[in-house]
Symmetry: C2
Subunit: 277 residues, 2 copies
C-alpha cells in the first residue's frame, strides 16, 4: 500500500557494520520515517544473494539495496510495466546491486536453493494463494536462509474521534481487496502463513504507526497522504460495487479527516515476520 | 482491566541506577510480561513524592513501589474496600514506601503543588469526566513534575481468525462501559486528554500486546486468562441489557478461543502518556 511518500533518512556508509541488537531496539524506538520502521532491521551481509519477490515499481527495492550495498538483489515481478518503472527508479538512484527479471512467484525460473535470502513486501495481500507463494519461495532458499515478509493490515486501523462511517469506508477497501482475490487483513496472518509454509524459528513483530498532533510529519505523510489518500482512491469502485452510498462515503472521509485534527489520533499496524528454511 | 495474572519478573536491586535510554529501548523489545511492557520506563528518583490516583486493589501499586524504592507513594482510591485490599497486598509484599488514603480524584484533600509526580493507570476508562480528573491531578503537581497515564483500548483489539461474533462480544464491553459512564476506547485518547488538561511536552507511546503461538505464556496469560476471561465476565450483563443473544455470545466466545489456537493471533494495545506541568 505504501510508496515513498514518507521522507527517507540518509543512512551513513559503514552503518551496516556497526549494527547490533541494541542499535536495532534503539531504532525501533526512534523510527522517524515509515522506511525506518519497516526496513531498519533488514541488512543482508556482503556477498549474499537475495530474491525480492513482487518488487512492483521498486518502492522497496531502492531501500533494500541501499541498506545492504554488499548483497546482490534479484527482483522479480509479473508485470513488465512495473519492472520498467522499477528499473528507472533504481537507475535514477544510481543503485548497482540489483537485477530485474519478469517472473511469477508460483512458477519461479530459478532452481531450488538458489538464494541466501528472500524478501517479500506488500505482495501477499494481493495473492489468492499466499501460503503457496511462500512454499514456492521457500524452495528457492538455501537451507539456513531467511524469508522476510512485511504486510499491512487494514483491520488494525483505529482512530480518534472514532467514526462509524469512516470505519465503513475502510471496510470497503477490505471487501474490494477480497473480491479481487486478495486479503487486506493479511498482516495479522504473517505468523501462521510462515509457519504453515514450514519456515522455522518464525518471529513476527508488529510495527504500529501511531500518529498524534505532536508528530506533524506523520499526520501529513501517513494519515493524510498515505492512508486517507488510499481510502479516497477507491471511492468510484466502492460506489460502483454498491458497498456504500455517496453520502455515507463523504461522511466517512470527513471522519478520517477529523483524525488529523489537533485532537486527532490515528493508528495502523504493519507486521514483519522472518522465518528460516 | 489488568490484575497480576501475568508473571512478574524480578527486578534486581540497584537496577534503577543503571537505567538509560538505551536500556529502555532494549526492554521494550524484550518485554516478557505485561508489567514490563507497561511499567519498565517508570522510575521515580530517590526522595520524590508520587501520588497514585485510583490505586484500586493495589495491582499497579506493588510494581510502582518496587520499581522506585527511593520514592514515597501516596495512593488514593474512592473505595475503602479496595484500599483495604491494596493495603493487604502491599503488606504481603513487604513494601514500605506506600501510604494509603481514601479520596476522590475530583475533590483531592491535598494542597496545590503537593507532589513531584502523579501516576494514573486503568482509572480514566471508568470516569465520566476524565479531562476534569486530569486537570484536578495536574493542579497537585509541582511545576516541572510529570503526570503519567496508562490506559487500554478495547477497540484496538483484532485477531486471527477474524470473527464477527467475537467482535460483537467485545463491542458489548464497550457499550456496557459507556452506559456505566466510562469509555473503553480511552487508550487512543491519552494524547488529547493530557494536552487538553494543559500538560506540556506530552509524549504518548502505544504498547501493543502481540500474541502468536510462539509465545505460549502470552497466549495463556493474556489472550486466554486476561482478555477472554474479561469478556466472558460480562456475559450476564450483556444478555440482560439485550445487547446480544445467547447464541451469538457463545459463538463470539468460541471465536475468541480460536485466536488462542496454533494458527491464532491476538493483538491489543495499551497507551502510555507522560506530560509535564
Amino acid at each position: 500500500m505504501i510508496d515513498e511518500s514518507m521522507p527517507s533518512e540518509h543512512i551513513p556508509d559503514g552503518y551496516v557494520h556497526g549494527y547490533t541488537e541494541r542499535e536495532h531496539a534503539r531504532l525501533v524506538d526512534q523510527a522517524t520515517t515509515l522506511t525506518d520502521l519497516l526496513h531498519h532491521d533488514t541488512r543482508y551481509p556482503l556477498g549474499t544473494s537475495v530474491l525480492e519477490a513482487g518488487c512492483g515499481v521498486g518502492a522497496q527495492t531502492v531501500t533494500l539495496a541501499r541498506n545492504s550495498p554488499g548483497a546482490r538483489f534479484t527482483c522479480i515481478d509479473v508485470s513488465p510495466r512495473s519492472l520498467e518503472a522499477a528499473l528507472a527508479r533504481v537507475r535514477a538512484g544510481q543503485i548497482e546491486n540489483v537485477t530485474f527479471q519478469q517472473a511469477d512467484i508460483l512458477d519461479l525460473p530459478f532452481p531450488e536453493e538458489s538464494f541466501d535470502h528472500v524478501f517479500v513486501c506488500f505482495v501477499l495481500e494481493h495473492l489468492p494463494l499466499p501460503r503457496q507463494a511462500l512454499v514456492s519461495l521457500r524452495s528457492r532458499l538455501k537451507p539456513g536462509g531467511t524469508l522476510t515478509v512485511i504486510e499491512g493490515d487494514h483491520g488494525s486501523t483505529f482512530f480518534h474521534p472514532d467514526d462509524a462511517d469512516a470505519r465503513r469506508a475502510i471496510d470497503c477497501l477490505v471487501t474490494l481487496q477480497a473480491r479481487a482475490g486478495g486479503d487486506a487483513l493479511i498482516g495479522r496472518q504473517v505468523f501462521p502463513l510462515l509457519a504453515q509454509a514450514e519456515l522455522r524459528d518464525v518471529e513476527v513483530s508488529p510495527r504500529m504507526v501511531y500518529v498524534d498532533s505532536s508528530r506533524p510529519e506523520w499526520v501529513e505523510g501517513f494519515t493524510r497522504n498515505t492512508f486517507t489518500a488510499m481510502v479516497e482512491g477507491v471511492r468510484e469502485q466502492a460506489l460502483a460495487a454498491g458497498l456504500v452510498d455517496a453520502a455515507t462515503w463523504a461522511r466517512g472521509i470527513a471522519g478520517l479527516q477529523r483524525a488529523v485534527g489537533p485532537d486527532g489520533v490515528f493508528c495502523y499496524t504493519f507486521f514483519k515476520g522472518v522465518g528460516v528454511r
